[in-house]
């Protein structure tokens, strides 16, 4: 009896431990890096980026802390931080893989300008020749300085009748193209990007977003009184938050204030890729619209959709968007499929409090946090590098090699959809259609599956054409023959000569 009791006790204890351990296994948090699979489920993923260093003013030997820094710019190995609150620009130099060092502080310039200091500089761009273009927001101008910080010219409020004359011009973000044209965003101007020619003349607005409104608001507005209407949100086009010009001269523009309903629709407008005409040419072939997180529930003090506050594009057309709402980075490939998602809000390394700006240096990412006043430097992990390598190899036409690299990616993470599709695309290029179909089917990639299947079907028909013709002929001939034989038999049966 005692033994039985003991055994039961041991068993229950064992069961308790087992359930306990399995419960802890399920109660785990999401991994730092994750992805959405083809069924839009969250899949944990190995890290694609790891923090190489977090830098604050002390690391650079500055005597005053950054104050609400807003802009970040990378030129070769130099990093410019717009320390907006302190009216200065800090130039940093990347000396090694995990080191940023102070190069100089820019807080004034020479030349015949009305004012030779900055007020709330928010963004900066450097041309190939080394000229600086600075959004001097507080002074309402965009400054153009040469590489020795001599004043060259300035771009001021556009002379356009459609703009309210009482509006103070506050340029906030800008990009420049190779011809020296300037595209900038300004607070309170929602007609698109302001475009200046190289000589400083205003030449129009580019890429205005459509005014978004939902119809319930519209109906409410019809019944509202004048006072109520004034308090309602106006149906206006959304302003761009930030812009980035890629290596081909296309402008990536993102907005954090897109309407939730318009985000839910297929052609989400959180990020746009503008060509010279200002048309959106972003490819949206992914499972999900390009709006960041799929699930917008409340968590950690944040809810609602992701708010893209900055975007940057690598030379392989992968672009990364920075979500200021949940402090996350979203990498998308040239087809608009999610490559990786990582980051979060918090106080640990690799977490942000108010992510403000994003830049890249080769494949390394720099994130500026305007509340923590810090710069976080991310470098790709082995997993991340393999993904980039596979994509680069495919773009260069090394399809076999790309397939092998994707296989390595899959070995690290078997839940990584792009690896399956990558292997499939590589097989497709190698004309192994049937194998390619299997990989595409596993991840429900209908477009690529159809491409492979079309070829496979063609091949199959060509191979079996003889059998197909025989079968079709047989279908026609056999009933014909049977009919003939029956008739013959009937004739014989009823023939006179056999009648006795």
């Amino acid at each position: 009896m005692k033994k039985i009791i003991q055994r039961v006790g041991v068993l229950t204890l064992g069961a308790l431990i087992l359930t306990g351990s399995s419960m802890t296994a399920f109660a785990q948090d999401r991994s730092y890096t994750y992805n959405y699979d083809y069924l839009e489920d969250v899949q944990d993923s190995p890290d694609t980026y790891s923090v190489s260093g977090t830098f604050t003013y002390m690391d650079f030997g500055l005597d005053t802390n950054f104050k609400n820094p807003e802009g970040l710019c990378v030129h070769d190995d130099l990093v410019y931080v717009c320390d907006s609150g302190n009216n200065r620009i800090v130039e940093l130099k990347r000396t090694s893989k995990d080191k940023l060092e102070l190069s100089r502080i820019i807080d004034s310039f020479q030349g015949e300008a009305s004012l030779n200091t900055f007020s709330n500089p928010t963004d900066l761009a450097v041309s190939e020749a080394g000229e600086f273009y600075i959004c001097d927001k507080g002074n309402g101008r965009i400054l153009k300085l040469d590489q020795n910080l001599n004043y060259m010219m300035e771009f001021t409020k556009p002379d356009d009748s459609s703009l309210d004359s009482s509006l103070t011009f506050q340029p906030s973000k800008l990009v420049i193209d190779t011809a020296g044209r300037v595209y900038c965003t300004a607070s309170g101007i929602n007609k698109g990007l302001i475009k200046y020619e190289a000589d400083g003349t205003f030449s129009g607005f580019v890429g205005a977003t459509k005014a978004s409104y939902n119809w319930t608001d519209y109906i409410w507005k019809r019944f509202a009184t004048q006072e109520q209407r004034a308090k309602m949100v106006a149906f206006v086009p959304t302003e761009y938050d930030n812009v980035y010009m890629d290596y081909e001269g296309f402008i990536y523009a993102c907005t954090s204030s897109a309407d939730e309903d318009s985000l839910r629709s297929e052609d989400a407008d959180a990020v746009r890729k503008l060509n010279l005409m200002g048309n959106d040419i972003l490819v949206r072939n992914g499972n999900l619209p390009i709006y960041g997180d799929r699930y917008w529930g409340y968590g950690g003090g944040h809810d609602g959709p992701s708010q893209f506050t900055d975007v940057t594009t690598f030379d392989n057309d992968i672009y990364v968007c920075l979500d200021k709402n949940r402090g996350r980075l979203f990498g998308y490939d040239d087809q608009g499929r999610i490559v990786y998602i990582f980051g979060s809000n918090g106080n640990m390394e690799g977490y942000f409090n108010r992510a403000a700006a994003l830049e890249h240096m080769d494949y390394d990412l720099l994130v500026l946090d305007s509340l923590d006043c810090s710069i976080t430097l991310f470098v790709p992990t082995e997993f991340g590098s393999l993904i980039y390598q596979a994509i680069d190899e495919f773009d260069q036409g090394n399809y076999v090699k790309s397939g092998e690299t994707w296989q390595k990616v899959m070995d690290i993470d078997g839940n990584y959809d792009l690896a399956y599709i990558g292997i499939g695309r590589s097989l497709l290029r190698q004309e192994k259609y049937h194998e390619a179909m299997k990989y595409f089917e596993l991840k429900y990639d209908d477009e690529n599956y159809s491409k492979a299947y079309k070829q496979y079907r063609k091949e199959w028909v060509e191979e079996h054409i003889v059998i197909i013709v025989i079968v079709i002929l047989a279908l026609f001939l056999i009933p014909l023959a049977i009919g003939k034989i029956k008739r013959l038999k009937h004739e014989i049966d009823t023939a006179d000569i056999f009648k006795v």
Binding site: Y444, D446, K451
Partner: protein, 218 residues
């Protein structure tokens, strides 16, 4: 009952009534008149068609190409899935009969059921071949599938209307009117059912909490 199964006549009648479904879907007015008035339909055949419909609906999930149907297997409850056909069917049959019987409808409950089941024939008839066909097409040829699939549903819908017309011996205007009314009747029944279940669950919850309270006090 079992003795009759052994007779050849029973089987002959069953097969003939099943084959009659094919006549019904091509000649709806004539077919559905004969179905009940000439007693050419059987419940066995009606049940068979209903079961085939259910099987088609489930088989579709598994065997349709992923190009047309993305199935989230974790979210599928097969009983709920079956109920998504059976429950509206039940509501329709009861609702339609209950209404029409008050307004000179000649159909009996069983006849409404039989007619509706016979009218479902195009669904399994087209969905099974479509299921196989879907595995041999690419996204560019997607339209064939969607159009044919829609046709099978619209066809069944029109057949239901035609069946009710003949079973209740209504004219077309009155029939359409009562089709709409039956839909409202279905809504009312759903409402009452929901009310009923929420009342019951509230009632049960009351006694459960009462019991708990007593157990705490003891």
């Amino acid at each position: 009952m079992i003795a009759s199964l052994k007779q050849k006549e029973t089987w002959k009648r069953y097969l003939a009534s099943l084959r009659f479904a094919l006549y019904c879907i091509t000649h709806p007015f004539d077919g559905f008149w004969d179905l009940t008035h000439e007693k050419r339909g059987t419940y066995a055949a009606a049940n068979t068609i209903l079961i085939l419909t259910l099987i088609a609906r489930i088989a579709k999930l598994r065997y349709t190409s992923f190009l047309f149907l993305t199935v989230y297997w974790e979210g599928i409850n097969i009983f709920l899935y079956l109920a998504s056909v059976l429950f509206p069917l039940l509501l329709w049959v009861v609702g339609n009969w209950a209404l029409t019987t008050l307004f000179d409808g000649k159909g009996k409950l069983g006849q409404v059921y039989m007619g509706t089941c016979y009218a479902l024939t195009p669904y399994p008839l087209m969905q099974f071949p479509l299921m196989i066909f879907s595995n041999f097409v690419t996204v560019d040829e997607r339209e064939f599938y969607t159009v044919l699939s829609a046709i099978s549903l619209i066809w069944a819908l029109l057949l239901i209307i035609a069946a009710m017309n003949q079973i209740h011996e209504f004219n077309m205007g009155k029939n359409l009117l009562f089709t709409v009314f039956s839909l409202f009747a279905m809504l009312v029944m759903v409402f009452i059912l929901m009310l009923f279940f929420s009342m019951i669950s509230q009632g049960v919850a009351y006694f459960v909490s009462l019991g708990r309270e007593i157990m705490f006090r003891l």
